[in-house]
């Protein structure tokens, strides 16, 4: 590194030291994050993760150096994921939690021509504050069901103008801005995270929480069913076990027409309902 400027050497050393002293190292892309959101982001991360923005080449050197000094070639795999304006996030947080935190910290941003939307953009049905003008015609040419109602533009029904991954056109940017719809988001995009020999990519880190909630409910139902069906009582299931036994006994008694104080109502109810249902089939003159 003889040809490298002194400050760069120092920067690489500092970065390498950070990389060496945290279990989780993530790469983030800060290229499209304006200064103000970036400083908000730093605030949010304070105490949880250390954010260092640098040049991509220096980060690459620092990772190599740290990998060498730690004798950990796996760490070098992170280099493949450097892109955009890279920064490193050093943390003790589990990479999944880190990803979740970054995603949750993203804030909506207004439409910009040429930008790619991260998710579908829907113009919701309902009145708007837009006064009639040339914009209405533009909307209609794009297929947006806009109409004038009570002197304002009104959207007739929900309309998806962009699918996730599509690019915002000039015209659409104007329309979305007029409608106050913010289809973009600003925040740190995680590129990859390293922990313990494994490099995690965003596809892996993006967990579907509702899926886990489903699994929790399923697991609970399994335990509940097992406990009740085998009559193994627990604090949460003893009531259900009693009820199951009672209802089973009651049903058998009702089915058998065996009258007890607990079954008389059901048994008579059945007989009575049978009578009433049959009465419905009978001509009126038969009923008194």
């Amino acid at each position: 590194m003889a040809h490298v400027a002194e400050w760069k050497k120092k920067e690489v050393e500092e970065l390498a030291n950070i990389i060496k002293s945290y279990p989780v190292i993530a790469l983030v892309d800060v290229a499209n994050v304006p200064a103000y959101p970036l400083s908000k982001m730093r605030e949010k991360l304070r105490g949880k993760a250390l954010l260092r923005v640098s040049r991509n080449t220096l980060i690459e050197l620092a990772i190599k150096r740290a990998a060498q000094e730690l004798n950990n070639p796996d760490l070098e795999k992170l280099i493949d994921h450097i892109q955009g304006g890279a920064g490193i996030l050093a943390t003790e947080m589990n990479p999944f939690k880190l990803y979740k935190l970054l995603e949750e910290s993203k804030t909506p941003a207004p439409a910009k021509p040429g930008a790619v939307v991260p998710r579908d953009v829907v113009i919701p049905a309902g009145p708007t504050s837009i006064s009639p003008g040339p914009l209405v015609g533009e909307m209609q040419t794009l297929g947006i069901p806009a109409r004038i109602e009570k002197g304002k533009v009104s959207i007739q029904k929900d309309y998806t103008v962009l699918k996730a991954g599509e690019v915002i056109t000039d015209q659409l940017a104007r329309i979305l801005n007029a409608l106050g719809i913010e289809p973009l988001e600003v925040g740190l995009n995680l590129l990859a995270a390293y922990e313990d020999g494994i490099v995690y990519t965003p596809e892996v880190l993006a967990i579907d929480e509702s899926e886990y909630i489903n699994l929790l409910q399923q697991a609970y139902m399994h335990a509940f069913n097992l406990s009740v069906n085998t009559a193994y009582p627990t604090g949460q299931t003893i009531e259900a076990i009693i009820q199951k036994a009672f209802l089973g006994a009651k049903n058998v008694a009702v089915e058998a027409g065996y009258v007890t104080p607990e079954t008389v109502e059901d048994i008579f109810g059945r007989a009575l309902r049978a009578v009433l249902l049959i009465a419905q089939e009978l001509p009126e003159e038969l009923l008194d």
């Binding site: 059901d266 109810g269 059945r270 007989a271 009575l272 309902r273 049978a274 009578v275 009433l276 249902l277 049959i278 009465a279 419905q280 089939e281 009978l282 001509p283 009126e284 003159e285 038969l286 009923l287």
Partner: protein, 69 residues
């Protein structure tokens, strides 16, 4: 509703729902049976699938049946 009970009793007992059978039961219950109603009942029940009706009636929670009793 006595007439219908009598019919269901016959059905539950596996007997045919005939005029004589109905009459016998009603008399045993101390009801003096009305010939015309018995005839009409037997005729009306001919197209009714009683087993089905009973199955429906066995549904644990019945519905607000139109009670024309």
């Amino acid at each position: 509703m006595e007439y219908v009970y009598a019919a269901l009793l016959l059905h539950a007992a596996g007997k045919e729902i005939t005029e004589e059978n109905l009459k016998a039961i009603l008399e045993a219950a101390g009801v003096s049976p009305d010939e015309a109603r018995i005839k009409a009942l037997v005729a009306a029940l001919e197209g009714v699938n009683i087993d089905e009706v009973i199955e429906k009636a066995a549904m644990p929670v019945a519905a607000p049946v139109a009670v024309a009793a």
